[in-house]
């Protein structure tokens, strides 16, 4: 992830080369011929990207020639050995994600696939998510993401995760716990897709709401000038289970899937709109009541109570024969309930009833409780 400055294609070429260099470093002498696919969002991007990338490859790796081929070309050809290829060098597949459907490679470099979730039409938002998923799942062994950092994008969360330093092996237990959250996010999305005709609009609405909240939180964070929690880099100290409070900045989560050491972005500070790994952005807690003791304590409902829930903060006892008593009781009940307290009120007489009527109906009881 990088902060885009200057020409977009040039920036993507530069960082795609870095990604390829990372692959070469990681796999050492492994021949990359037809094993690496550079996946871009569409044909237009591919057309603009191909020539500058080819030139940069030649300049960067003069002793190791690479040839950019389309997915169709690669799929239509047998795999010649290094000797048979001659000067042609190793093939790197460069094509749009649409052209890569149904194809896989050992290594995928996903270039420029992200987009801001709440921009454009709803269908394009979901299309972005689709192409990211399709690109990452083309890889057998490694997927490398090359993208400008887009606040509000699907990949924004990568600005808040890091690879565990002393445990680079995949940790099944930890990632399964993370996956639960990821699946939940997918579940929400699937549910929206399947059950709502206006799925895209719903997603955008959600994103806007969260971004609005993020704006508030970011403002707060800017005021406090807090810095990212470095503890997140320490295994075990920052986990997806950590509870967050409103106003907190998202912590850096150590995990064993994404290596974000190559990130070069300074913009990742707010809560990601989409975040499959970290805890959800904390919902603002209800404002504490202006009066009294703060947030009412949670009550434990009692089983087999005569009246549910069987426990209340307040019970109001008042004389049924007094209009003042009735009025005060009702007003107290309303005020306390506005503050979040539960109130048991035995309304034995409505306001305005006279005492005689009351006495005649003294057995009539109606209980309001919450």
């Amino acid at each position: 992830m990088f902060d885009l400055e200057g020409d977009q294609i040039e920036a993507y070429v530069e960082h795609a080369l870095r990604a390829l260099n990372h692959v070469m470093t990681t796999f050492g002498s492994l021949e990359l011929h037809d094993r690496v696919a550079i996946v871009v969002p569409d044909e237009r991007f591919a057309a603009a990207f191909r020539a500058p990338l080819a030139d940069a490859l030649l300049a960067q790796f003069p002793s190791r020639p690479f040839t950019l081929v389309s997915a169709q070309e690669a799929a239509a050809s047998a795999l010649p050995s290094a000797g048979e290829r001659g000067k042609e060098g190793e093939w790197l597949v460069l094509d749009s994600i649409a052209a890569m459907d149904g194809l896989e490679r050992l290594i995928i470099i996903a270039v420029g696939l992200d987009a801001v979730i709440d921009e454009g039409s709803g269908s394009s938002t979901l299309e972005t998510r689709s192409r990211l998923y399709r690109a990452l799942t083309r890889a057998h062994m490694m997927a490398v993401v090359v993208n400008e950092f887009l606040p509000g994008g699907w990949l924004e969360f990568l600005g808040h995760v890091s690879l565990k330093k002393d445990e680079k092996k995949f940790n099944l237990k930890d990632e399964m716990e993370n996956k639960i959250k990821a699946d939940a996010a997918d579940g929400v999305m699937s549910w929206r897709l399947l059950l709502e005709k206006d799925a895209a609009q719903k997603v955008q609405k959600l994103a806007k709401q969260r971004q609005a909240s993020k704006g508030n939180l970011s403002n707060h964070a800017a005021k406090t000038e807090s810095k990212p929690d470095p503890a997140g880099d320490k295994p075990g100290e920052s986990t997806p289970k950590a509870e967050s409070k409103p106003g907190d900045k998202p912590k850096n989560v150590a995990q064993s899937v994404w290596d974000t050491s190559g990130n070069e972005t300074a913009k990742a500070s707010g809560w990601p709109v989409f975040n499959p790994i970290q805890p959800d952005q904390p919902e603002p807690t209800p404002k504490p009541p202006k009066l009294g003791t703060g947030v009412p304590p949670k009550l434990q409902p009692r089983a087999y109570a005569l009246n549910a829930p069987g426990a209340w903060h307040f019970m109001i006892s008042y004389a049924q024969g007094s209009d003042r008593g009735s009025m005060l009781a009702q007003m107290l009940r309303s005020s306390l309930m506005e503050l979040g307290y539960t109130v048991w009120l035995d309304v034995r007489r409505s306001l305005g009833s006279n005492l005689r009527d009351l006495n005649e109906r003294s057995d009539v009881r109606c209980r309001y409780h919450r």
């Binding site: 003791t293 307040f314 019970m315 006892s317 004389a319 024969g321 003042r324 107290l332 035995d346």
Partner: protein, 114 residues
Amino acid sequence: MYDKSEEAMQEAVENSHVVLAVITGDGPDDEGAYRKRPYCLQELRWAFAKGTHVQPVVHLRDKERIGDYIRMAPADLKRIASIDFVDMNSTDKDYWDVGLRKILDKAKARRVFP
């Protein structure tokens, strides 16, 4: 649909953190006065027996009668005199909120809520 029995009323008293006793009365002959209502007095008895925090509340206009209310209370409920009454002004929201805050603060001071 709700249980309206005396047992249900006792349940409410004994399972509430605070019993607000809205005490009213317009003199010794007022049959509608709080002290004349058997259920009201029984609710206080249940609350005291259970140890539930009882907070007496009066309307602002009854503030001057607090002494009378205590004096006329049944002997077994005289202990209500040891509790600071809160008077509520229902005609002004700011004053009302002050009374409400007092009720909540007193409950807090008594560590009523867990």
